[in-house]
């Protein structure tokens, strides 16, 4: 190192006397390893990157607040944000609409929050290790499933998106990734999930405890890979029912099968810190937002009334307990709600989210077993399988009630078997209904089961049409400016036009020409009318 004055003097003398003036010579141009950052590593263990990717996928306060608490859960009418106008009253706010995009791809300035960047780097490292003869099959397989999960949320939220060329700025010097068609992304995700599940090899090492979801258990990864494939398959029911059927059946019949109990849930367990705040990775992002500044959320009238009508034991777990449940009407704000018929004269009479669900160490759920049961019920209704739709429905409801105990170790969120049974007997599977009625019942339960996962609730609503949501009563009477969708429930989030339109201009223009205007009503490929 050159902080060394003896060397400095020596080099000066050498320079002046030996090298002569104005000529290059080695001694003066060689700085050793001074330009290698001593605080950074040139390579890293794949497991350490994998853990980070999993946490990044669970999200941080910044983008989860915007994507879910402001848009997803509000559009799906699970929650109402009574202050920030976004999904509640169909307002375009570019900052909030694009938060998921920028963070998922690049971390938005904090590389450790980036999902795409780190998963692509991880896969690149694994490829190199494989070339060097390392046994990386299981690591690669789990990484491919995580990768599909990451991109599935991006494309479901935004439509066509950079996929094949994304996240490779440093790997391939790819600076203007093209936007792949959602159709192509889906096809590739199906292929990837298929290949990944088949790639597992019990004779090879896993990430072990670096795998924060399953601790390296291969069978659980197979189940998640297949369950995710089932979710993606059903997204296609409107645009390509045949493909939907083929992929759904392939998923449930693939090695390892789909999730069979709440033990199989894909989730991240959080802890209280130390990494918290806007970029905090340790904490539950929804809780972080609600506890530290974002608490403008009420439970939506749509959900509260639906649960009240069915005497749902989950209501007292979802919503603040101990006083009458009162849902907040979607589309209204804390100001304009004073003109709504439900207004009691006191804002605090509206039900808030139960504090039990928003602790910083509460888990984040990527996919639950209950969802998988409901999807299988739908397969049966559609006649794609010969299984009992009722059995899957009952199992789905039971799982959806039972898994809540994961929120509270002390049992505060436990629902007893008898409560489940009572609920099921009062709200039995509608075996005599039409297929449409059955599908509505199943998917409305699905919606109630993915509380606080607005991305999934909204996506499943878009593909299934259920629950049968009334567009929120929004007009310009509810300031600030709202209803930029002309009374329609939004169908997608928006691309960051301000940056993509400049920095990736050609590809951006191409996708707008192909997919349609960059607004909240343009439908993504699978969301046909």
């Amino acid at each position: 190192m050159y902080s060394n004055y003896k060397t400095i003097i020596r080099r000066l003398v050498i320079t002046l006397l030996a090298c002569g003036l104005l000529t290059t010579c080695d001694s003066i141009s060689d700085f050793g390893n001074m330009n290698q950052d001593p605080t950074r590593a040139n390579t890293v263990k794949p497991g350490m990157l994998f853990s980070t990717v999993q946490l990044a996928a669970a999200g941080t306060r910044y983008e989860v607040w915007r994507t879910q608490l402001i848009y997803g859960e509000n559009i799906a009418q699970q929650l109402v944000d009574a202050f920030y106008s976004g999904g509640n009253n169909y307002t375009e706010n570019m900052d909030w609409l694009t938060a998921f995009w920028t963070t998922a791809y690049s971390g938005n300035g904090n590389p450790d929050r980036a999902q795409v960047k780190n998963i692509e780097s991880l896969i690149n490292i694994l490829k190199q290790k494989k070339d060097e003869g390392d046994q990386v099959a299981n690591k690669m397989a789990a990484a491919r499933i995580m990768r599909a999960f990451i991109y599935s949320r991006i494309t479901d939220l935004y439509g066509d998106a950079p996929y094949s060329e994304a996240g490779k700025g440093a790997i391939n010097q790819e600076f203007t990734p093209k936007y792949d068609r959602q159709k192509d992304i889906y096809n590739d995700m199906f292929n990837e999930l298929d290949a990944a599940v088949k790639q597992f090899d019990s004779s090879q090492p896993t990430y072990g405890s670096q795998d924060l979801m399953y601790g390296g258990e291969i069978t659980k990864w197979e189940k998640f890979g297949n369950s995710l494939r089932l979710r993606l398959a059903l997204r296609l029911v409107k645009v390509n029912p045949q493909k939907a059927k083929n992929e759904a059946l392939a998923a449930i019949n693939a090695p390892g099968g789909v999730m069979t109990s709440n033990e199989d849930i894909a989730m991240i367990k959080h802890q209280n810190g130390p990494s918290s705040g806007p970029a905090g990775l340790n904490t539950n992002a929804i809780s972080e937002a609600m506890l530290d500044g974002g608490d403008h959320e009420y439970v939506a009238q749509t959900l509260v009334d639906w649960m009240k009508n069915r005497n749902d034991p989950r209501l007292g777990i979802y919503a603040e307990n101990g006083k009458p449940f009162l849902g907040f009407p979607s589309g209204y704000t804390s100001t304009s709600v004073t003109n709504h018929s439900s207004y009691t004269g006191n804002l605090s009479d509206y039900s808030r989210v139960n504090p039990m669900l928003i602790n910083k160490d509460d888990p984040t759920f990527f996919q639950t077993y209950a969802e998988v049961e409901f999807m299988q019920a739908e397969l049966a209704v559609r006649g794609w399988t010969n299984e009992s739709a009722k059995n899957h429905y009952d199992a789905g409801v039971r799982a959806a009630m039972k898994y809540l105990s994961l929120y509270d170790a002390k049992g505060g969120a436990d629902i007893s078997d008898s409560e489940v049974n009572t609920y099921l007997s009062n709200n039995p599977y509608n075996a005599s209904g039409t297929d449409a009625e059955k599908i509505e019942q199943i998917n409305t339960q699905y919606w109630a089961a993915v509380f606080l996962n607005g991305i999934e609730a909204w996506s499943n609503w878009r593909r299934s049409g259920y629950p049968d949501l009334e567009p929120a009563l929004v007009d310009s009477n509810n300031p600030p400016p709202s209803n930029q969708t002309n009374g329609k429930i939004p169908r997608r989030l928006m691309y960051p036009q301000g940056t993509e339109g400049i920095l990736n201009a050609k590809n951006y223009q191409e996708v707008i020409d192909r997919q349609g205007e960059n607004n909240m009503v343009t439908r993504v490929w699978w969301d046909t009318k």
Partner: protein, 1057 residues
């Protein structure tokens, strides 16, 4: 963590080694040079008298220097002098203001008489050029501007960089809006690079100092951490010399691309009257200069035209001034009590206080023909206009020079301790008291906020619960804390050894070393961070420069002389950060890091080094034609080995035609010179930009270690240096016995191969990438007009006008890239960009859509946002000018400086927020029609405009919806011309007459009253200071909720004994 421990100890070893080697190095130079001293201690004494050629009267105070050395003296009251010189063949130079200088060879005489002729001042001016070489101004082929301490008022300014405001053509100083202790952006001849820091190199007494801005606010808030130059004590400054162009700066190498600001501090040299004691004391009062002049005060807090009816509604609408007309009725407010619904007057005056600053300076200096010393101490206490925020600074300087025969030693140490209390948060709302004040409804009294800022259980007393990120400003100023303390040592040891009467060898080792200890607290109980967070960290910065320089000065014939300077230098810079950040207080309010439930370590390190060799040769023919050639080669550690060497040359020439053809010159022309120069400068970059690395995160999850890609910028393995070339021509003329003068420069500068971190699509996985691309051109003129309209025995008036115009143009970016984003507004609809074909730093954003008649097109009753972004302005002025005046009559002198900036624009986030809040005057339009409504309330404002089908707009909307929509969609509405004419300084001084002080020990006494930034003669931006900037980075042209610009008024007394 064994690995961590090993790394840490290595650094500690390195640290102690460097200090040890520094000492060894200095000693080595001392011994080496000393060894040769005794060999040539040959001396000769000469004495004599200096007379004025016309009157034959003795001239006291004439400077006499032995040519090629630093030995010198001045004549006494009888015009007599005595000087030991190196040999009987030495030459002496005699200089005296208003007389033509003369150089005489002693030729063995021990007694000489010299007569000086009255002459042209322009021919004698000496300025400090690169490497602190004093040169005759007439010989320079490029432009150097020198500002002397008498031209600025050091007493009332806290940041030395701000002393240059309005003083020098082509130097643009923009302070950030953080109050005392905050940084300033200084650009010389515009920004030279697309993405570099574009800040000049600061050199104090020949030693480069660190000017890092540690911490700055951005679009999401934060606070300005101050910079390096702001600590230099303005009272110690003797002169500031600005090397503007590449030629002037070429000898300083890679870091001088953006020009050099050289500060020469005071020393005791040239004093022959024993010890001089100077004492000055200043008290300055400061208050907000700009106010919310265009805020409305007709409507109060509320929504939908309604006053709050319950405490809950009062809390929900604390950020909304969309209530009912202020009618004096009793209304429930945030405290649940009824208060009159009336305007509270100027909320700015209600919140901000009068800042008080006092500063006391004492200096002692003295010397004799062999030695001199200078000692100064200054203590300053500045309270900002923001309550509880302020700066305390103590500075201690010791400098001594001594001649040991042919060896001249010059040693200086400057120790500075600066404590900042509560640096104000700026820009976005969290923790920013200024933001809260800027959106405070007219009827909420600041007293109510103050009385209720803390709840009984010690938490933030929120005044609104609509957005918890907007804090009670009194909670912020009383409970938040962003404190820091900087301890800094700047010093050098310089040894000159006269090898012969025409050759001097200089060894110099300089050091700028500081620690910055910071504490940042978001208190327990803050609404948006209920459990609080707390960070303690310390920066350690070391910058050292070691040079060996050989200077040659040879008069070859009577007409022809050569000066040469050759040297080598090593510059080393190191930055290390150690700290702990914590969140969640275990026990409320106990401010210690072990009380944090979650803690994580902070460690950062970077270092770089530049090795250089350089040389300069100056030819002088007959004292009227001068030619300078320079060359420098730098090797930088930050570039790949194959690209890390870069050479750059410069050539400049000056032709004093008034001397060359003196007989042919008309009598009204006193001085005339033409000059031209060309230079190329290469520059490096920051360390660690060449390869992708991984970051081990400072925390674990469920016991598992975590890692991620480190960089947000895609690295580039084969980086090349950036190249800047500049051509400059100009002339200096003076007329009528120098009563009138003009200096003119034209320059043209291109910067190519830029090392940029250019923003890229986030979908690449990165926010930016490092590239070598782009071309930026800057072309401009600088004019200085000087005049002395009045010059009598008792009265004089010197006036000067400087004018500078810089035109920049982004000629190319990377490949076919058209736009580079430099910064973004909090509203995320205004961008500062470099766009090909346009000036650097354009403001881009969305406009209204208008029909052919210019009517605003509306959809659903709201203005439609243009589908494309347009260029709406630029953040840098077209031209700047300063008008500087010094008028004196007998013992009274008056100085004033008018500063003009023209042609820049500003996107004002504060005005945008005032739209959403319903505070901007413009938001009154459309409300009257809504007043009469009761409940329920329906849309009532039909704005002027046409609907998308071309018919008149008929859709009514709620006014708050209308104006809120404009904030989030229409950038153009908040882009203002940022033109201003400011009375920068007004100073009245009175020098006590000699008759009064003659019988006291006081040698001289002066009293001055100084006003700085007193008022805007013209200002085109409403509600905010046109000079307020979010930070000092390249994204100039954005403003949001800074500390209001302040005017100051100071009174100072200056005594010397």
């Amino acid at each position: 963590m064994k690995d961590g421990y090993v790394i840490r100890t290595t650094f500690l070893q390195r640290e102690s080694k460097s200090i040890r080697y520094l000492m060894v190095g200095i000693l080595a130079i001392l011994f080496w040079i000393n060894g040769t001293v005794s060999a040539r201690a040959q001396q000769f004494t000469v004495s004599g008298t200096v007379l004025a050629a016309d009157s034959q009267k003795p001239l006291p105070g004439v400077n006499i220097i032995e040519v090629g050395t630093q030995r010198g003296t001045t004549t006494n009251e009888d015009g007599k002098f005595k000087l030991k010189v190196s040999s009987s063949e030495a030459s002496l130079s005699f200089t005296f203001v208003g007389f033509t200088s003369k150089t005489i060879k002693i030729n063995g005489r021990s007694q000489i008489t010299v007569s000086l002729s009255p002459g042209t001042k322009e021919l004698q001016d000496v300025v400090v050029t690169a490497l602190a070489i004093n040169r005759q101004a007439k010989s320079l082929g490029y432009s150097v501007s020198q500002v002397d301490s008498k031209d600025f008022d050091a007493a009332t300014e806290t940041n030395a960089a701000n002393l240059l405001q309005g003083q020098v053509a082509g130097v643009n100083v923009s302070p950030t809006s953080g109050g005392p202790g905050s940084s300033s952006r200084v650009t010389i001849r515009g920004a030279s690079s697309l993405a570099g820091n574009n800040q000049p190199l600061y050199v104090v007494d020949g030693i480069p100092i660190d000017n890092t801005n540690i911490g700055s606010s951005g679009m999401w808030g934060g606070y300005d951490g101050g910079d390096g130059i702001s600590q230099i004590n303005p009272d110690d400054i003797k002169s500031i010399s600005v090397l503007k162009g590449a030629s002037a700066a070429a000898l300083y190498g890679t870091r001088a691309r953006d020009g050099v600001i050289q500060i020469t501090t005071k020393s005791g040299k040239g004093l022959s009257q024993g010890t001089v004691v100077n004492f000055s004391s200043t008290v300055t009062l400061e208050d907000a200069l700009t106010g919310f002049t265009d805020y409305q005060n007709k409507y109060g807090q509320g929504q939908l035209g309604q006053k709050p009816r319950t405490q809950g509604e009062a809390l929900a609408t604390g950020l909304d001034s969309w209530g009912a007309p202020l009618d004096g009725s009793q209304v429930i407010m945030l405290d649940g009590k009824k208060h009159p619904y009336v305007d509270q007057g100027n909320q700015l005056d209600n919140f901000y206080r009068t800042g008080v600053a006092d500063k006391n300076s004492l200096s002692l200096s003295g010397g004799n023909k062999n030695s001199s010393y200078y000692f100064s101490t200054t203590y300053q206490n500045s309270e900002s206009i923001v309550p509880n925020s302020g700066l305390k600074k103590a500075s201690l300087t010791l400098r001594g020079t001594h001649a040991f025969g042919n060896l001249h030693a010059d040693v200086k140490a400057n120790y500075i301790r600066q404590k900042m209390n509560n640096r104000p948060w700026l820009s976005d709302s969290p923790g920013n008291a200024n933001f809260s004040v800027a959106v405070l409804p007219p009827n909420i009294s600041t007293k109510m906020l103050k009385d209720n800022y803390m709840t009984a259980d010690g938490k933030e007393g929120v005044y609104q619960n609509a957005n918890t990120f907007v804090n009670n400003p009194y909670w912020v100023v009383n409970q938040f804390s962003t404190d820091d303390q900087k301890d800094r040592l700047i010093g050098y040891v310089k040894l000159d050894y006269d090898l012969t009467d025409w050759a001097t060898l200089t060894g110099r080792a300089g050091l700028d070393w500081y620690t910055l200890r910071r504490t940042s607290l978001t208190p327990w109980g803050t609404a948006y961070r209920p459990n609080g967070d707390f960070t303690e960290d310390e920066y350690r910065v070391l910058e050292s420069t070691t040079d060996i320089i050989l200077k040659l000065d040879k008069q070859l014939t009577d007409a022809f002389s050569v000066q040469g300077t050759f040297g080598g230098s090593v510059n080393y810079h190191k930055n290390e950060t150690v700290g702990i950040s914590g969140s969640n207080f275990k026990v409320p309010k106990l401010r210690t890091i072990s009380n944090m439930a979650n803690i994580s370590p902070i460690y950062d390190f970077s270092e770089k080094q530049i090795n250089s060799v350089y040389g300069s040769v100056d030819f002088s023919f007959d004292d009227y034609w001068f030619l300078t050639l320079t060359g420098r080669n730098d090797w930088s550690s930050t570039l790949p080995k194959e690209n890390n060497s870069f050479f750059y040359p410069s050539v400049s020439t000056s032709f004093v035609f008034s001397e060359a053809f003196s007989s042919a010159m008309p009598s009204w022309l006193s001085f005339g010179k033409l000059r031209a120069s060309w230079a190329e400068v290469g520059s490096d970059t920051d360390p660690y930009q060449l390869n992708l690395t991984y970051n081990i995160l400072s925390f674990t999850h469920q016991g598992q270690s975590l890692a991620s890609v480190s960089q947000d910028a895609i690295p580039l393995a084969n980086l090349k240096p950036t190249l800047t070339d500049e051509f400059e021509v100009g002339f200096n003329l003076s007329f009528l016995d120098e009563r009138l003068g003009i200096n003119f420069s034209w320059y043209n500068r291109h910067t190519t191969n830029q090392i940029l971190s250019t923003t890229v699509s986030n979908t690449t996985g990165f926010g930016s990438r490092v590239i070598n691309a782009g071309r930026l051109n800057n072309r401009g003129i600088e004019i200085l007009l000087k005049g002395t309209p009045v010059s009598t025995n008792n009265a004089s008036w010197n006036t000067s006008i400087n004018f500078a115009r810089n035109k920049s143009k982004v000629a190319a970016l990377a490949g076919d890239q058209k736009t580079l984003i430099l910064g973004e507004s909090r509203t995320q609809n205004a961008f500062i960009t470099a766009t090909v074909g346009h000036p650097y730093g354009t403001i881009r954003g969305y406009k209204y859509v208008r029909d052919d008649q210019g009517n605003i097109v509306m959809k659903n009753g709201l203005p439609v946002q243009s589908s494309e972004q347009s260029i709406l302005g630029k953040g840098t002025p077209d031209w700047t000018a300063g008008w500087n005046n010094m008028i004196s009559y007998k013992n009274i002198s008056l100085n004033f400086l008018v500063d003009i900036h023209w042609g820049a624009q500003l996107y004002s986030g504060t005005n945008a927020e005032a739209y959403t809040a319903g505070l901007h005057k413009n938001t009154l339009v459309g409300r009257a029609g809504c007043d009469k409504q009761g409940t329920p309330y329906s849309p009532c404002y039909v704005a002027d405009g046409v609907d998308v089908n071309g018919g008149p707009n008929k859709t009514a909307v709620v006014p708050s919806a209308y104006y809120g929509h404009i904030e989030s969609n229409i950038t153009e509405q908040f882009v203002y011309d940022a033109n201003f004419v400011k009375l920068r300084q007004l100073q009245l001084s009175y020098q006590l007459p000699q008759s009064l002080v003659a019988k006291t020990p006081i040698r001289s006494a002066k009293i001055s009253a100084t006003g700085r930034n007193l008022f805007y003669i013209y200002n085109s931006v409403p509600n905010v200071d046109p000079e307020s900037a979010i930070n000092r980075g390249n994204a100039q042209g954005l403003e949001l909720a800074g500390v209001p610009g302040a005017r100051s008024f100071g009174l100072s007394v200056n005594l010397s004994f």
